[in-house]
Structure formats: C-alpha cells, structure tokens
Amino acid sequence: MPPSIHPVDLIAALRQRHLTPAIVFLTSRRACDEAMEAFDHADLVLPPVRQEAIGTALERVIAQYPSITEHPLIPIVQRIGVAAHHAGHLPSWKIAIEELMRQGHLDAVFATTTLAAGVDFPARTVVITQSSIRKSRDFTDLTIGEVQQVAGRAGRRGKDHVGFAVITPSPYIDLAVLTKGLTGQPEAIDSQFTISYPMVLNLLKAHPHEQIQGILAKSFAQFQLNQRAELLEHKLDALHVQMEPFGPRVCTDWITQWQTFDHARRHRHTRHQTHRSESPEISARLPFLSPGRVVGLSRGRGIVLRQYRSKGQKTSMLTILRPDGAVTECPVTSVKEVYDRTCDFVETPTYPWCSTDTFDRLSHQLEELPSRLPVLPILTSTSHEPLPDAIVQSMGDFPCPTCPSRPACQKDFITASRLRQEQQRHAKSIQALRASLWHRFQERVNVLQKFGYLTLATQLTIEGEWARLIRIDHSLLITELIRAEAFTGGDLSLLAGILASLAHDDDRPGAFPRISAGLSSLLGQVRKLAESLSPYEDPPLLRADVAALVERWVADPTLTWIGLCRLTTMAEGDIYRLLARTLEFLSQVQALKSMHPSLAESASRAITLIRRGVLEELP
C-alpha cells in the first residue's frame, strides 16, 4: 500500500462522489507542489466550457495583478481545475486562486495546514492528511480548536446542504487526535501577554508611573491570573477551616516551636546544618515543588512524586513521574518550568511515594495534559529564613519536654505543619499571581534605565522619546544601532539590508551567494551588538543571504522581479514577505523625523525604492 493516496487518485475519488470543490490540507509546501506536478500528465481534464470559464476568470484577476501573467501553474489550473495555495506563492497568486474558488471554478486547492487561518475560502469538502503541525521547529498535535478551524472550511452556506471532512492517512497520522478534534469542544484560550520595551516606553509616555499598575491590571493576562488567584483563595479559606483545631496552645506558635525542638532533638549529634546552598530562585521554587505538581523538564514534562535531600548532596532532589510511567530522580535545578497545575495526590511513605490509585491516575493525567499550560509565576524573595543556629545550640531553653501540651503537639504536628505549609504556599502563589505583571514591568524599566531611555524617576529621556516609536521585534537592538550611528553613511541599500536581516525570522533555507563588503562588515557589527544585548533581548537570526538580497533590490532599480527571484533559491512568496516586513521596519524608522531627520529621510527613500513592480500591486 502507498503511504498516502496519490493526488490524481484523490481528485478522481472526490469527483466521482461529487465531493468537489475540496480544500486538501497537506503537510508542507513541497507536498503541495509535488501534488501539482502529479497532474502534469493526468487525463482528468475538464470539459472545454469549464476550462474557458477558468481562463476568463483568471484574465480578470491578471488585469489587476500583472505579476502572475506567466505563472507556471496556470496551464494545470486551467486544464484540470486544481491549484496550489501556500506561503511560497505571491499574495496576488493566492488572491487569484481564492477568487476562482469563490466563483466555484476549481475542483480542488492544495494548501498547507500551517495557515488554516489564512485560507479564507470555503469548499464542500476538506481533506485532512495529518494530525500534527510544525510549530517553531517541533511537531505538535493539532488542538481541538485547530482541527475545527480546518474542518470548518467544509460546507458552504447557501451552496451546500452538507459539508464533508475527509481524513486520508499519511505516515505518522494519529487518528485519535483527529476524532477527538472533530467531536470535542474547543479548548479554552489563555492570555499570552508579554511586556516589551516599546510597551513600557509608550505607557510611561502617556501615563505617570503610579498609574501603570492599574493599566496592567486591565489586561486579560491579569484577569486570568486573578481567576487562578481566586481559586487559590478559595482553597486557602478551606485550609483556614481545617486549621481551626490547631490554633494557639501553651505557646502561640506551637507548630514552629515544636518543629524547631524536634529538629534540634534529631540533629543534636550532627551539628552541621544541611546548608542551603541554592540560589534564591531555586529556594523560592522549593515550596511549589510539592507532590502532585506538574513541571517542565528539558525533555517533556513530569509530575513531582516527592522532594528530598539526600546526604552529601548539595541540592534538593525530586522524584519525578515521566510520561511513559518511568520514575526518575533529578536535582531541582533541572526543572525548567513550574506549571500552575497540581494533581490530587495521596502520599505514601515508600516508593513510589503515592498510592497505586494515585500513580495510575497521574500516569493518565500526564498523557492528557494540554499542550500549553500556564506557568506559575514565582516571586523570589531576597530574605529567607533559615533555622537560626542559636536555637539549635540552646536545647536546654525549650519548654517542650515538660510542657503539658507536649503529647497533643507531638500527635498533631505532622498534620498541622502540612496544612500550614500549604497555607503558606497558597499565600505566596496568590501574591505572585497578583504581582507578576508588575514585576515584569519593573524588570523592563530597570533595563531601560540602564540604557538611558528612562530617567531614574521613570521619565522618558530624549532617547526614550524617539525610541518609543520603534514598536517592532528587536526594538532594543534597533534603537541601540541607531544610537551607535551604525546607519550614518546614508547608504540606503545597507540600511534596508540590515533591517531585512532583523525583520526576517524564518529559518527556511535559502541561498544568495554574494554579499557586499560593506554589508558584511556592518552585519558583523550588528551581530556583536546583538550578542552583547542578549541578556536583555533575544538576538535575531541575522541571515546574511536575505540582507544581501534586499540590498541588491534597493541598490539596483533596474533589477526586475524575475531577475531578483533568479538570484536566490527562496520561494517568491518568501521574498515578497521579506520585502514587506522590511518595509514595515523601514516605516518605523521613517517615523523618527524629528530626532533623526536624515535617517528618516533615508528610510523613506528606501521605501520608495523597494515599492516597485510586484511590491506595488497591493497596499
């Protein structure tokens, strides 16, 4: 059996059952292109009337967008009535195909799942061939929402009584992901709020510092953090009730008193305190790494079964349940993320440190966790309270041995101290949840002060006043480059080239062999600066080939689009997007008229030079 159905057979099968028009979602652009090639010699030709209709419709679009006049796919589109539509194509081509689909001229379009949102046209049938998509270098399963977004293109209102989602397998397809996606309810969505440097500058430009916390509190992020905090407050209330029997006794804080006494008693002989050598960040995490907590490790996730510290080891250790049911030991430092998710947990004193029921349930829950989990914000407090040595040394001062409440204390201690720990943990979490955005804001403020964009009184400096207008990725690097006068030469193609290398974050391979000496040395400078800024901002890819490509386009106004495409292995659509992104970056630099007039002027001239040919077709 072939690993997946042949495109020609697929279209034949759909036609035979009257399941056209269809959108066929394939794994990659390459798969779409290969599918098209498969029709080169196919005899599924359309009747002449339909071929003519396609021709007429195409002519109308071509009149508006001459760039697609000689598109190599036109003959197949017209002859067979199928087309490819993906990010490697020019926007004008995609518009043409969408138009043909809307008018009902085509039988099928091969598209990539990556941009289901960009496929803004419906069909009678949607064909699904995969259950996962590539997101930032990793394959992740489609969520229920994504499956429905894809399947949702099937069934055109007013044109179809029913719509069809047809699954046809390809290697590595997981049918369960798709059936769950088709039958389930879409996931809840979570805020992805981040605080960027330009956000801080713009907020402080318009509002005094003391109002900012109130503004951040209006975010969906804070709304959701509050929801989580309220859940915890609820738990906290329940804990207060459970703590009632353990109120003040002979001593008010008998729990601490007993703890210290008990501790001292046990460690009388080994006077060396286990010395906490952990960083404040790690220590702050410890209370959260309790049994049942879901954590992220460098590979995959796990659930904490217990936390312990073994003799001779400096760091605290965790026993962790891994997805395949394996139980591993690892130091606390290897935990990458602490998630805001705990599972119900019945502890036991021996391996695997929880009841069998719990263990089975945890194993299942671990498999079932959603692909994105909220991370628990943890406040690092600088003042932490180790057991005072003095207490240990003065055993004789403890009233406990003769206290009338001793038996009760001894009996209740375990329960009471566990409850209290939980209380403290919840209280800390709540505090962290309420304050985390503000902390992140303050961190950004500190950096901006360090670099001189903000005064100590959090006013914008002269530099901050213009820097706030750069509201794109890598803003800190761009403003620092401007301050370092990296672009003073007034060379338009260099400016455009560098901004292109900053704007283009795609690692899709492409090649452009020649790069000018000037650009190469400037890129070296940019790379150095980017590295020095890496503690404050992730460095960009800084691809020399894309920089060189844009440099050429700007430097040589006689270069045609076809000529440009021949210079590189990049797809047309990628080149278009590269130039469009560069335009976006240039337009922000263009806004710096009052503070950097000549740079702004260069940017605006570079924009004019880039906007030619295909780049002029669309706004």
Partner: protein, 351 residues
Amino acid sequence: MTTEELEQLLAQQPVALLHRLARGRVHRQFRAGKRRLIELLLQHSGHNRAGLESDLQTLIGERHAPSESGSPHIHRPPAIAHKKASPHRAEPESTETAVSLSAWLEGIGVPAPQPFIPDPWQTEALSAVSETDVVISVPTGSGKTYVAVEAARRAMEDNRTVIYTSPLKALSNTKYTEFSKTFGPDKVGILTGDRQENGQAPLLIMTTEILRNLLYDAASGEIDIRLDTLGLVILDESQYIADPERGVVWEETIIFCPSQAKLLLLSASIGNPQDIADWLTSIRSTACRLVRHSKRTVPLRAGYLHPNGKLTPLFRTVGIPYGHPNQLHPEAKRLFLEYEDETLPSGRQRR
C-alpha cells in the same frame, strides 16, 4: 434522570470537571466551591437541562476515555451510579448498526436559493452592538461577516468612523476589496505601515498592530485618528489573542480602545468566550454581551479515504457524534488498522 440523580452524579465528579461544566453557564463560576457550584448548576439547568446533562456525560466520557482500554486499577466512580446515570449512553461496539456509505453520501447538493433572513444570533449581536461591546464566538462559516458589515453600515450612517482589523495583511486586502464592493470605494480605506489608501474614508481597514500603534500615538497626543468620532472597532479573528507572539497586541488594542467606541470581537469557536466577555465587562464602561453558539449552520460529516481509494464514513453515525470520539465506523477502523500495520513497522519511513 431525576434531579436527585443529577445532583448525585455531579457530587461524584471532581471539582475541576464541575468548573469546566460551569464555564459559560455560571457567572464567575471560579469563585464557587463544590457545593455551591452544584447548587448553581442545578439552578441553571432549569433553562437547558438536556444540554447540561449531555455536556456532563461528555466530560465524564473524556475523563474516562483513556481507561476504556481497561487498565484494572483506574480510578472511576462507582459503576452502579455511572450506569444508572447514563442509561442511554451509546456504548461503543454495541449492537447499534453503523451507517452505510450511501446513506452517508445522501443529500449532497446545492440548496435552492433562499431570501436572506438574518439568523437570530446575528440580529441579537447587531442590536447589542449599538449599545455595548459584543463578543461573538461561533463556528467558522456561520456568517460573522454579515454582522460586521451591518454594524459598520449603521455606525457610518450615524456619522461615526469604523475601524476593522484582521491579523494578516492578506486578509486585510481581501476585506478591502470586499468592503469596497459593499459600500463603494470612497467609503473604505486601508492603512499599512508605509501606505494609506483613502485614509480619510469612514471605514478603515488595517492589521491589529497598526491600530495598536495608532492608539499609542493618540495616547501621547501625537496624531489625531479622529478618535472622537470613532464609533466602532471590529476585531476579526480575535482568537489570535492566544497567539504566543502576537496575542499581546490584541490585549493592548482592547485596553486602549477609547471608551465611546464599541468593540465587536469576532472569533471562531473557543472554549472560554465567557472569560473574554467577563474580562471586557470588567475593564469597559458597559457590560459586554456574549453571543455564542456551537452548532454548525451547514452540518458536517466525516469520512475516511483509504490510500487505495476506498471511501467509508469515519463514524458510525451520519453526522459527527459530538462528545463520542470512540464511535468509529467499523470499516474505517478496520482499514486504518490495516494501514498502520502496513506502514508503521515496515521501516519505509524517513523519520
């Protein structure tokens, strides 16, 4: 089932499941404890008891789905209560017959042209948006564009400016063409970073990033985007608020949207539209209205196409068995197992 039975079944569920069940049913459900939640759910079930029961069964089903393969010591509620509570729950692999291919294919075709009558949810959204912010969460293909167009038309008739944003430049361009046809080219403009076409038109289309930048400029007194006449801001594809890189832009835009302009958020189906609406209510001057439904206008069927060209229904039922992912059609199941047998161990794969 009787109220007592329902209450008992609810009480057996973990509180997390109850919270999921309560989403969109009970206002500020996250505040309530288990007892209170059950009370509220029962109160609410007055409106739509069947809906509550079926959702509950779905959630229970999901919770136990992995255990169906039968590991012996899996935690599950007492079997009796479970059975009793769901007498008509379709058991997979039961005697129930599976749909035939011809029945599954029946009804393909083009409906006769019908006069356009707005759906109740569309009318509801339109009347709400003249007074307050509205969040719409409906399946793809339901007709959100109609609401956007009508809302824009009414705002413009009132001499108000309208801004329409989309997440992708390509979508902006499509809408620009579409709206220019609907309203006439002089009524519609488009803004990009370096270009304006018809920037003085009453209906302006742009990406959400551009609007966010305009709002920042306006906040610092830089430019005048006729904010005082801005009457309506339509954010299409609002589910992008959950995009890891760009989601923050939607939050900024909503936070800084001037209060006299109404917000109209259009979104595909998401799990927690009530949260979005509650959030808007908590930060805006009027209470946000949520308009949601999850029923597809054109019913959907699912099929399985084998690499050898054989087509079969994917599920036992004609339509999608919502809430029952395991009701695979026996033929689809057989073919897929065959496929896995033949492709997986052969070592033919590249990965």
